[in-house]
Assembly symmetry: C2
Homo-oligomer: 103 residues x 2
DNA sequence: GTAACGTACAACCACATGGTTGTAAATACG
DNA sequence: CGTATTTACAACCATGTGGTTGTACGTTAC
């Protein structure tokens, strides 16, 4: 989970995720889209792959990158759990206000 | 957005968010809960505050920390958008398979 | 077969991060 | 009042991160 959020904490990497969720792209396709070296983009892709946010599939001499919605959903579930914890707190406060203590 | 994900990319900070969404706690309350120095926990809280994931409210000599669900929801919206992008891709593929090209 | 392309990886650099200790200010307690 | 508590912040250290360049290797194209 650390790695998923860490990977998403960079605008370039979020953009790579966004792109590859919409359309597959080779590493050099991606490298062409950003104003940095090929190696830098390749490292970003490696970080995303390490977090499970993208997968790479060899196709000839290219590596085709595709976004992985499962990793996204894992992060979503954690955030959902946090929001639920907050809702529970609100629920407890409401209960306290509306139903005076018994006994 | 960078800061929100960056802040969530640490297990201690996620736990602080979880705790303070459920129940307010002073910085020293939090510090007592983890096996590290007070200053380390205080820095984690500062990172979370910088990301808007928690807010601090002074109460006497203590600072009461509470989780902020709005920041959580901002991250959720971004992840939701990503999942929608993926669904759109699947939708396009389905359309391509089920309706042969016109003209 | 040779040349060009796409990728991987190592080495390096500046800077951020997560931890430590120490010190100082503000507030509460006796 | 003086003392203890809570917080803030600076300085420091080891390690990680985001970028660079250079090199090597497999694959495609001619």
């Amino acid at each position: 989970m650390d790695r998923i959020f860490r990977a998403l904490a960079d605008a370039t990497r979020r953009d790579i995720v966004r792109r590859t969720l919409a359309t597959e792209a080779s590493v050099s396709d991606l490298a062409g889209a950003y104003d940095m070296s090929f190696a830098a983009v390749q490292k970003h892709v490696a970080v995303l792959e390490g977090a499970g946010l993208v997968t790479k599939r060899p196709h000839g001499r290219e590596r085709i990158v595709r976004g992985n919605p499962d990793a996204i959903r894992r992060a979503q579930r954690l955030l959902d759990a946090y929001e639920q914890i907050w809702r529970d707190r609100i629920g407890r406060l409401d209960a306290l206000l509306n139903e005076p203590p018994q006994k």
